[in-house]
Symmetry: C3
Subunit: 353 residues, 3 copies
């Protein structure tokens, strides 16, 4: 046999998704202390629970957990070759829950169930809703979330086998939070070492916090990150192909922005050590190398966790903007996002009480 073969994957198109099917994604991944160090080098997080074995053990963890967003990126990265290689846009996230802490040495793998399909009005693409589930080597679910993506059709006009738009909660209910966090001893939580004296009860709905610091992003950084997550989306790596796109350059993985903004949020939310749930998220505008990211947060809600006196939950809106500071809390001008806003993330964080 001579000539080209079809052994390479060109990704799924809208017609290739069937309602109810489960996709087993490739490349299980053992998380190592090398991944953790790179995560620190890429974003500079300073939460003591993830940074120090001694601190984590003192409050009740068996050992220091891996940063929740590193888990998210590793679980997410595996879905890209099957779900979003032909995506026009990543439209949203919902009902994301971190259900077990992940430790160095755990091996993560991901499956996705197709829970919704909807043809776009143009007829050239459609929206695919998947529930992606990350599991550890004991087959325990560590993360579950819904994502929906606008995916090109192979043949414009083809209808899907079935259409269904799933009902999704606007936010994860407080009583569904906390499984990813073991029982802790808040008295053993050392505020000086943690870097903040503000605990759960010190935050109030409506409070806005400018995280002050800014980070300029380099091509090498986001490429290292996105490869670390084994995320294969071409738009992040191929500068040659990028010249032909409307941006003319490589796009930075949206998850890179989430991690940058979350690391910046330490200044003001230093005790918000655990990301318990992702209520929703929108990548409002693209980020490019050379841009500088600032971030601010608004406390949307606070909730105790049923039966737990150790930790409480804050519902937070985390907004990232590029090439402007966050001192004026840029968000929306009427219906539209304000100039420079790139991320609008809604999540629940846990803090010691």
């Amino acid at each position: 046999m001579t000539g080209s073969t079809t052994k390479t994957s060109s990704g799924r198109f809208f017609e290739d998704f069937a309602l109810g099917e489960t996709i087993v994604h490739a490349t299980p991944r053992t998380v190592t202390s090398g991944d953790v160090a790179l995560y620190t080098a890429l974003y500079g997080p300073r939460f003591a629970v993830q940074s120090s074995q001694a601190f984590a053990r003192a409050i009740g963890y068996p050992e220091a957990p891996v940063d929740d967003l590193l888990v998210f990126h590793l679980v997410f990265g595996k879905t890209v070759p099957d779900v979003s290689l032909n995506a026009v846009a990543n439209l949203g996230y919902a009902d994301g829950r971190f259900l077990k802490p992940v430790f160095v040495g755990d091996t993560l793998s991901t499956t996705s169930e197709v829970i919704g399909l909807k043809q776009a009005s143009s007829g050239e693409a459609g929206i695919v809703y998947v529930r992606s589930t990350g599991r550890n080597q004991h087959h325990e679910i560590v993360l579950s979330y819904v994502r929906w993506v606008l995916v090109r059709k192979r043949l414009p006009g083809t209808p899907p086998h079935a259409e269904l738009v799933p009902e999704l909660p606007a936010a994860v209910a407080p009583e569904r939070l906390g499984e990813g966090c073991p029982p802790l001893d808040p008295a053993a939580y050392d505020e000086a070492l943690a870097g903040s004296r503000f605990r759960w009860a010190d935050y109030h709905p409506g409070e806005k916090i400018d995280h002050v610091d800014g980070m300029t992003v380099e091509e090498a950084e986001h490429q290292l990150a996105t490869r670390l997550y084994q995320n294969t989306a071409r738009v992040h790596f191929d500068g040659l192909a990028a010249r032909e796109t409307r941006f003319g350059k490589r796009l930075i993985y949206g998850g890179h922005v989430i991690s940058l903004a979350r690391a910046l949020s330490f200044n003001g939310l230093g005790n918000a050590f655990h990301l318990a749930a992702l209520n929703g998220g929108r990548h409002v505008a693209p980020l490019f190398a050379g841009d500088t990211v600032h971030a601010w947060s608004e406390v949307l809600d606070t909730a105790p966790l049923p039966g737990r006196g150790d930790v409480g939950a804050l519902r937070l809106r985390l907004v990232a903007a590029k090439n402007r500071t966050a001192s004026e809390h840029p968000y929306k001008d009427g219906e539209r996002y304000a100039e420079g806003v790139i991320l609008d993330l809604d999540y629940w964080a846990l803090l010691p009480r």
Copy 2:
């Protein structure tokens, strides 16, 4: 005593090599999970065997082996200060065999035997042939390969002590393959997790595979990689000195290109998890930061391994090109390499049967 000393090494010149001598190279190196994570971040490989402890153990490895090319770079890097600091060009590789899997925690060291010397016609340089041998902390050989390099003379015109051009095989014979791979259980090899349903028998000589994806390389990336390998070749790091060279800029380590092309080859060769042997390799043209690498492969041969029903070997030509896609399988135009081709690598990979 005052003034400069000669405590620094300026590397060996052609006259400094003696036929038959063995050079013990400096800086033994313990391989860590940090090295593995950086390797993933630098190239984005997705072979399940190296990525997952669980996957590797399921098929018969005691634990996940370190990527063969990371081993190659670590073993190779040590030879640079002694062999190629004054090299004009790295001319070729032959008879490279991976003989033992390397695991996290192993300590690698390298020796090189001078097996050939040949004065260049110009009289200003000569070709040095070395067989370099990488060993682990148990003194077991993990990698052995021949490399030849054009090395400047200290004094143009000096003849070498002796001249000998070693006979080298065009390719490693199939019966000499496989020592680096333990007996595996091909039934336990999960194709969904591996990301490819194509096993050894699905590939045929003459088959060409465009690996589709492209990677643009940044200065920070290749510098991080090359320092990780403790490779000290100045051309990769010193932008000031590079201004005086014919390129006017830093050159990217040729091994970086090999690793990029191999990682790209996952798309089409997702089960070719083990690099068993390097038959030969040529760095056809230099790569610079800002360039984009694409790659394609041709199946040159297929071979069962004597006495083994678990894995089979594919002899592959891996071609990398810069700033052009590989959809047309760029290779040679007559005698000359086609525009943009930068790497012509001939190797044996093992796949599950």
Copy 3:
């Protein structure tokens, strides 16, 4: 409650420091093999003791120690949010001693005692002297050093509560060296593997060594490094804010220069494996991305260690310069530092006897 809060830290101003107070710095940090790998990738050090478990154990270490400068950066990084966020300049270091080897798995934390305060003549800032102490998880001191920094006042003109300029030694006395190095077997120290045949007795006061090699620094590299150390100084990361500064661009963390110069010094000082003490240091001029660093050393003194025949100490001046080679040993032209000099570091290194 609505609106901005003061939950973010804007750092301490000169008035906020009290003589004699001890500041507990945030974010304890467990050192991992990932940190070590990144350190190797960022600077390319080749000292065998830190690189190889087998080498370290052969000479008497329980396992390979972490590079002393990585320890320094981790201990130092924690002090930034409390000590130098509002610093105008980092003025100097003195009396730095490495007192215990640090191993992978150790958790480091830092406290600083304010040992001196002096109002600057301008009245707009003052000099703060702190003794910073890094401890491991057993509360053993691993590193202790004095640093002084020019810190802005919140209100120009405010006098400090008390003024005191501490007396500091010009150099750590030889009899105070060596606690950070266990008893070693110099006969087991393999010079071929170490990469240098020059031991302690081969060096002489007045000797100058050009380390030959150069390294060009990229933005991504110093940002990865500085975040790895959880050093939050804004000037290193925020390119947007940097436009408003007198340099117009991001500044590279001074410690990055120290590590680069020290890694370059391997070529000439390959057996100077342990940094026993920092006598003093001055960041003479800033380094920016795109600049190339060269380095040279002068042997200032040599000293045996009382009661120890295994190792001896060299007092070294390590000078780094940018965008010029070090072949002419650039240092001072009269009173002023020569063009291009960026670092003047005075330290004690230990070498096998």
